[in-house]
């Protein structure tokens, strides 16, 4: 009985903190329509500052007032003013990516400021010793504070939302900001207030949860801890505060009962406890009724140009040739890194088809790669030691398994759309990463003894298919590149086919697509399976390119980082997948590693290089935050630039080609390093369109065909004169302004 009571109280306390975190999420979601993935990161950052203030010798109460009264609100208001304000009218994926970027950026920043290798602890209020005894169970003062705070906050928010005008206005601002203006309110003020409040709640939750979950302060861990509160928020369907509160309590109690009553042998119970919130999240998403299909099309600012198979084939060939030429410059290590990047690009293609073409979301692409990797490891390895090879059947089986896993995740989630679907995939990814990839104990099933993830890491040998043996880096790189090109061409063909157009229709308006007699279930299921299969293939190749993989390779943060970079590059484009994947798999790794090596090599400059290494990571996240301003991705802009150049500035195009060739010759002859060449060539490629525009602006004579006059420029009197001239109308008859007679009539009394 005492055990039961003890765990119940612990569960309620954990639930209380979850409820504070979750209500902050509900608050910001209800007032801005943005589901804040960075909520946990805000909690983490506030808690680190709380620790820091105490380190500076501030008393606990002062540190607490500072983080909850100043840091929390300021962080929220700043987020709103700088980033979130610009997200109105963007697609769900853009909103998610921006908050994910804030999450990653905050975590990178925290790890930069506070060295992760140093241990830090946050104490309970009044110390661990301060407690009272309730019916034989000892309850600490800190735990009582948690409970009281949670109840007060839930009640306060409920009152705010329904009993105060400020709260009503906040809710109105997500419905229709323009109408709110017409009512004399400022929706931006309401939204800023809610972000400030939401951020304060996050910080409060962070300060309260660290001591009860062990006291150790760790940026990644704390961020994920608050993400567990997503499940609680989903109980209230992101709207109801009381149900969110109840959901949080269920979550807290369940986590503690699992700990109390399940056998503690092996890794199972511990893993289950960690992944329980995500399991509950998935179940709640699937079970709770969802919004019905909305009639109106989803209007967003994202625009993508569908590719043609011919151009995809041409560019595929160019890519293979380019990568081959480039690989000649690289050292073996460089080739391996690039091969790794290319396998990430293949995984990124799974996002192009799923999100770019079909508008569905998957926040855990790497999880499908993990499924495939586990299958390939168990069924596809031949030989042992250095002679071990992965066979083709194993890879095919792995791809099929990934597709099936994709179908399995999508099947219950088929009714879900946008954010809900994204959260379901997130839950799946987290579940997989905690339950399967940490499952290092031996199981016995149907007389077979097996271990899913022995020793916590898998050694995946290179692929061998007939004469093709991916033993060395170059063959591995070229195979990945050719596969990328082939899948890319396949996707272009798919996008152009009837099936692809159906996907695009589903993306624009699920309701209209259903009206046209399309089977949405079949469409979603199939595109999810295609996407998962591609991710699976990429995952196996990635595992075999790295040699050894562990849970670390397939984490949620890794998946989000990949997704972020692909969206930044342009998720609607195959080239976007290439650039995003390369950046995720090779780009920042190379830069960070380079700076770290430099730091080791040059003692005196170590600080500067370490700083640059951190800066690269934070900057990547900053780029992600900027995606709100340019939701179609930068590849889109660059491609547009090249298209314009082809039409009006061919000399610049040829000039750029010449510069590239000169750079290559310099690199081959060893005058400049391979990476220098890579970066320089990339810069030339990115800035060439700018040069083209300047060139066009220089020598351009303005010539708008008459039928397009006034369409993309103001309809001026000069334009009208020009039109008249073109049409051969006598200028005298031109009604440049309203005829004076009519104007007089307008002002005359009726």
């Amino acid at each position: 009985m005492t055990t039961f009571l003890t765990y119940t109280i612990l569960g309620l306390v954990l639930g209380a903190v979850y409820s504070i975190a979750a209500s902050g999420l509900v608050l910001t979601y209800n007032t801005s329509g943005i589901f804040n993935f960075a909520h946990g990161a805000q909690a983490m950052f506030g808690t680190f500052l709380y620790w820091q203030f105490q380190q500076w010798g501030w008393p606990v109460w002062l540190a607490l007032v500072a983080v909850i009264g100043v840091v929390g609100p300021a962080m929220g208001a700043a987020l709103h003013a700088v980033i979130m304000k610009g997200l109105r009218g963007t697609a769900d994926v853009t909103k998610i990516i921006v908050t994910v970027s804030v999450l990653l950026g905050t975590v990178y920043l925290a790890q930069w400021v506070w060295d992760p290798d140093q241990a830090r602890t946050v104490d309970m209020f009044f110390g661990t010793g301060a407690k009272v005894s309730l019916g034989g169970v000892e309850v600490r003062y800190h735990e009582i504070v948690c409970l009281v705070a949670a109840v007060a906050i839930a009640a306060g928010l409920r009152v705010l939302f329904t009993r105060t005008r400020a709260g009503v206005v906040m809710r109105g601002s997500v419905d229709d900001p323009d109408l709110l203006r017409l009512n004399g309110h400022d929706p931006e003020r309401a939204a800023m207030l809610s972000w400030a409040l939401g951020s304060t709640l996050a910080v409060t939750a962070g300060v309260l949860i660290v001591p009860i979950s062990g006291g150790a302060l760790d940026a990644n861990h704390l961020t994920l801890l608050v993400i567990d509160a997503f499940a609680a928020a989903m109980f209230g369907r992101l709207r109801s505060i009381p149900r969110t509160f109840a959901g949080a309590m269920v979550l807290g109690l369940a986590a503690n009962y699992v700990l109390a009553y399940l056998p503690s042998a092996g890794t199972f119970t511990g893993n289950l406890r960690v992944s329980l919130p995500m399991i509950i999240l998935f179940v709640v998403l699937v079970v709770l009724p969802q919004d019905r299909l909305r009639g109106a099309a989803v209007r967003t600012r994202e625009r993508y140009r569908p590719p043609t198979v011919r151009s995809a084939a041409v560019w595929g060939a160019v890519l293979v040739a380019g990568v081959y030429l480039y690989s000649l410059l690289l050292s073996d290590a460089g080739v391996t890194t690039l091969a790794l990047g290319m396998t990430f690009a293949i995984i990124a293609l799974s996002l192009t088809v799923l999100t770019g073409y079909a508008g569905e979301l998957n926040l855990a692409p790497l999880a499908f790669g993990a499924v495939a990797t586990v299958v390939a490891f168990h069924f596809g390895v031949q030989g042992s030691g250095l002679a071990a090879r992965l066979n083709v059947q194993g890879v095919l089986l792995a791809v099929v398994a990934a597709a099936l896993a994709g179908g399995l995740v999508a099947l219950p989630a088929l009714r879900l759309r946008g954010l809900y679907l994204a959260l379901a995939t997130l839950a799946f990814g987290e579940f997989l990463s905690n339950m399967v990839l940490r499952d290092t104990t031996e199981h016995e099933l149907l007389g077979m003894r097996f271990t899913l993830f022995p020793d916590g890491s898998l050694v995946v040998p290179p692929l061998k298919a007939g004469p093709l043996d991916l033993r060395n880096g170059t063959s591995s790189l070229m195979t990945a590149t050719v596969l990328f090109a082939l899948i890319g061409i396949g996707l272009a063909a798919l996008r152009g086919s009837g099936y692809g157009r159906r996907l695009a229709a589903m993306k624009d308006s699920p309701a209209a697509t259903a009206m046209l007699g399309q089977n949405l279930v079949r469409l979603k299921l199939s595109v999810f399976m295609i996407s998962a299969a591609i991710a699976g293939l990429g995952g196996v190749l990635m595992a075999s390119a790295s040699g050894t993989v562990s849970q670390e390779n397939f984490t949620f943060v890794g998946s989000l980082g990949l997704l972020m970079l692909v969206v930044v590059a342009g998720i609607g484009y195959i080239s976007g997948a290439l650039v995003g994947g390369l950046m995720a798999g090779a780009g920042s790794a190379v830069l960070v590693a380079t700076f770290n090596d430099l730091a080791l090599a040059h003692e005196g400059m170590a600080n500067v290089y370490t700083l640059l290494g951190h800066l690269v990571l934070v900057l990547t996240a900053l780029v992600g935050m900027g995606v709100g301003r340019n939701p179609s991705g930068f590849v889109h802009d660059i491609a547009d630039g090249y298209r314009r150049m082809r039409d009006g500035a061919r000399p610049v195009l040829y000039g750029g080609g010449a510069v590239g060739a000169v750079l290559y010759v310099l690199a081959v002859t060893g005058v400049i390093g391979a990476w220098t060449f890579g970066i320089a060539a990339l810069c030339v490629a990115m800035f060439l369109p700018l040069a083209g525009d300047m060139y066009r602006a220089e020598g351009r004579v303005r010539r708008t065909p008459p039928e397009l006059a006034g369409v993309d420029e103001p309809y001026t009197d000069e334009l009208r004169t020009e039109l008249d001239r073109a049409l051969g109308l006598p200028a005298a008859h031109r009604p440049a302004r309203l005829a004076p007679a009519l104007r007089g009539e307008a002002n005359a009394p009726a």
Binding site: V169, L179, L742
Partner: protein, 237 residues
């Protein structure tokens, strides 16, 4: 007709506005006299809604002058316009679907009105709203939603009322009832600008009518006169 000689309360002089690089209003002239109802008529795509948005402060004018009671107010924000007494009911349903009827009225107190007054006037004029006070506005019928939207004009004591396509998606009987309410408000001294595609609904109660085509007001005059012109202009004659 009142205040014929008085200075216009709301006046547009050569107003230009557009979306991105595309200009939609090419110099609109309009004058709303105090205590009168001006019907802005014309076919789809003529710029009526944009004109209304400019008047409400939701859309910036790129040229010309927007005057409120003789004062140039170009670039005014919607919330300031509302506080100066411009009550605008936008196209579609001017309600917050996820707020209850009462909360909608509460949100309408942003210009200084009292909730109790608003409720009294709204439920007095439209008793059905009183019955639905705790229901989500989005779950009501189109007519009830439009009544709720119009209630804002009843209780907040505005100087100018802007109505955009009040009749959209409503049964003819409800439309008649809505315009009866509007006519009552005009009689009480409110100045109303109505943009309407279906002239027949509003012409009987209009004091003045203006015809808008391709981003310009091409004719202004007595309702009967404009009605006569309309057939020709619609058909491109």
């Amino acid at each position: 007709m009142t205040g014929t000689e008085a200075e216009p309360l709301l006046e547009l002089a050569g107003v230009r506005a557009g979306y991105g690089a595309i200009e939609v209003l090419h110099g609109v002239d309009l004058a709303l006299r105090p205590g009168s109802l001006l019907a802005l008529l014309g076919p789809n795509g003529g710029g009526k809604s944009t004109t209304m948005r400019v008047c409400a402060g939701l859309h910036p004018a790129t040229g010309g002058e927007l005057r409120l009671a003789g004062r140039k107010v170009n670039g005014i924000s919607a919330q300031d316009a509302a506080k100066l007494g411009v009550c605008s009911i936008p196209e579609g349903r001017g309600v917050f679907p996820n707020l209850t009827v009462r909360e909608n009225l509460w949100a309408a107190t942003g210009t200084g009105a009292r909730l109790a007054d608003l409720e009294e006037k709204a439920y007095g004029r439209f008793p059905i709203l009183g019955k639905r006070r705790d229901q989500l506005a989005g779950s009501m019928s189109g007519g009830e939603q439009q009544m709720l939207a119009l209630s804002r004009a009843l209780g907040t004591d505005p100087a100018v009322l802007l109505l955009d396509e009040l009749s959209m998606g409503l049964a003819p009987m409800i439309v008649t009832r809505m315009y009866d309410t509007v006519a009552g408000l005009v009689e009480e001294g409110l100045s109303v600008l109505v943009a309407e595609q279906f002239a027949r609904a509003v012409l009987p109660i209009a004091d003045t009518a203006a015809l808008m085509l391709n981003g310009r007001v091409v004719a202004t005059g007595a309702p009967a006169e404009i009605e006569g012109r309309m057939a020709g202009d619609y058909l491109g004659g």
